[in-house]
Structures are given as structure tokens and as C-alpha cells.
Symmetry: C2
Subunit: 204 residues, 2 copies
Amino acid sequence: MLTAKSSPSPVPGTRQRIVDASAELFGRNGYTATGIKAILSASDAPFGSLYHFFPGGKEELGAEAIRVAGGTYLALVKAFFGGSANVVDATRSFFEGAAAMIEATDYADACPIATVALEVASVSEPMRRACAEAFRSWLDELEKHFREAGIDESSSHGLAVELFCAIEGAFLLSRATRDPSPVLIAGRACVASVEAALRNESAR
Amino acid sequence: MLTAKSSPSPVPGTRQRIVDASAELFGRNGYTATGIKAILSASDAPFGSLYHFFPGGKEELGAEAIRVAGGTYLALVKAFFGGSANVVDATRSFFEGAAAMIEATDYADACPIATVALEVASVSEPMRRACAEAFRSWLDELEKHFREAGIDESSSHGLAVELFCAIEGAFLLSRATRDPSPVLIAGRACVASVEAALRNESAR
DNA sequence: AGCCGACTAGATAGATCGCTCTAGCAATAT
DNA sequence: ATATTGCTAGAGCGATCTATCTAGTCGGCT
């Protein structure tokens, strides 16, 4: 079941190329709007390979793409919140980085999962679960860092959810208005919430 | 160009039936996943009528559906924030109502525009603009009520954006996880922010 | 009555959709 | 050497997509 490592190929291997292209296209254009053929031509793979690796077809591929994209974003969260010892600074730079990125990609790449998540929420149970699992992994990571900063468990969970909602909503608003400022405004609100939670803790 | 009022028909008129069905289906299943035929059969209208009223085809219909859905939600915001004299209570009951609704519709109907907005943001400029305009109308309405509560303009704008992001992000998370609690958590955070803004104002 | 614009009605075109199918290649196992 | 396995390769199927087209109905106006 391991990915073929028999030949140390410079190309990432067909299966991974397919998944990577899927994650990118699904994230940018949505699940329904992205056709199988577009994925195959983007990943330079033949039809047969797709259904060899993903007998479940587009839906199975979609679920896997969500898992990969979720892992990529989780690594991003870890990089921001694990690198900085200060959760307030981490929160601030996370939102500022997000604002810079969404502007740099011309409002195309924000959350790689959000569009798909909304599309499939009431339609595909396996894909919905994959989205829920990805979101949960982000929330767990955030919550962990808040707890490590001395914030109690309940508040840490609330902060993680609040931060998630703020950035996802801000991505939506920014993409629709082609304006990065919602991300910055949401970021400032989150920074204030994190600071307030830390104050509550130390004043205890 | 007026909508035909010549006959006081009990049925809402073909054009409106098409738009209403579109708004509902687009909101629930997304833009790409909703076919023209599904809209026509849901609104009990023939092919010809659609292209008579919307020569621009699906895209023009989509933009109109966004406008209608945007207006419906604007009325909802007005009902909550105009009815209550207290912005804190309004904020709280708004989120609680949202949580109850998303659960009651089995996580199918949350924001009627969000899915479409993400789908078309980088694809259809007229639809993107319609989404931006709808969002802006909600934000303006929220901001107005915060200003009327005595909060300064800059903070009112920030609060409106914060509230928007919180509920949109919470809708996304709730639909993906099939759990209403994110909406409630986000609501509590917003209530706290509104209270803090009011305190700042009175302490000035 | 006769006309005309608004609207209904649906067959059909042409493209694209996800997917299946058979055939063949390359490397390993026997 | 031969069989087996893992993967490549793409033609093509039936279904479905959006949109166009022609024809016909209906109500109000002159």
C-alpha cells in the first residue's frame, strides 16, 4: 500500500500528482466545477491511472484531496503558532500573512477547503466527513497552543473556534469584495480576544 | 420593464417563481451543481420563459437570485436589529436564531449566498459583484445599528465585519460538522465584543 | 376584427460530464 | 523463459449540461 519508492523518480509519482492537482483545482474552482479531465491534464496523467488509484472515482479523489489540503493547512498553523512563543503575536502574524496571501493570489487562493465543504455538506457524506476532520485538526492545533499559553480548556476551545470562524468568514468576504481589509479587521478582533483571555487567566 | 401586474394572479408569476426556485436551489446545492432543468422543474416553468426573462442565461439568473437572497437576508437582519432596542440582545438572539435554524433544516440552509460566492468569486464578475453588493448591504445595516447604539463609526464598521465573519465561518463549520455549537460559540464571542465596544463608548 | 408584443412550449443541438472498457507496457516473481 | 502484477493509455459510452430554435398561445390595443 506504500507509494512506490522502487524508482527514485524526480517526478512525484502519478498518484500524488493527481491528488496535488485535485487539491489545487478543487480549492480554487470548487468541486463540481472541476472536471476529471481538467485534473488529468493538469497532473499529466491518463484516465486509467485515476481509476486505478481511486476506484471510487471523483468522490474518493475529492475526499483524498481534502485530506491533503487539510494537512497542508495544518502545517501552516503549526508553523505560525509553534514558531512564536507568544500566541498574541502568532495570531496577529497569522492574519497578516493570510491577508498578504489572498491579495498576492488575486483573491483566488484562500481556504483550500471552504468552497468544497459548502458544496458537499449536504451531498456527499464521505467528503463532508473529510472536511470535518480537517477542520477539527486545525481547531485542535489552535486549542493546544492556547492551552499551552495558560488559557483554560473551555476558553481555549472557544478561542480556536472564534479564530477559525473569523478567518473563514473573512476569506469569504475578501474574495467576494476583492479587498483584503476584512481579514485584517477580523485579525484585530481575534488578537483582542486572545489578549482578553490571557488577562482573565493571569488575573485569576 | 415592470413586472406584470396586469393580472392579479394568485401564482407569483413565472419570472418570480424562477428566481425564487433558483435562490433556493443555488443556496442549498451551489451554483454549478444546480442545473437549469432542476430550476425549471422546481418552478414549473418552460425553457422558453427562462431565456425570455434572462437572455444572459444561467449567469444572469444567478446574479438575480443572489440579489433576491441578499434582500431576504437583509430583511432578517433588520428584523432582529431593528426590533430590539438593545444591540447586545439583538446580537445574541440573532446567533441563537441562526443556530436553531441551521439545526432545524438539517444543516442544509445556512447562508444562501456563501456557497455561490466562493464558487464564482474568481469566475464570474457579475455574480461576484452581486455577492459583494449583498454582503455590503448586510454590513451597512449592522453598522447603522451599532452607530445608533452610540458606538463610533470605525468601531461600528469593525463590529459589523466581525459579526459577519463570525457567523459565516460558523455556518461553514456547523454544516461540515453537523453541529450547531460553533454558531453559539461565535455568537458569545460577538456579544462580548459588542459589550466591550459599548463599555468603551460610555467610559469615554 | 385584426394585429402585435409578451410569454409559453418543448424538441434539439453541440459540448462536456463522469466513467468503463480493452489493450499494452514494464518490472518483478516464479 | 514465462507468468503475474502494477500501472499506463486513450477510445468511446450514455447521460447530462446550457443554450438555441421554431412554433404556438394569449391578452390587450387600435
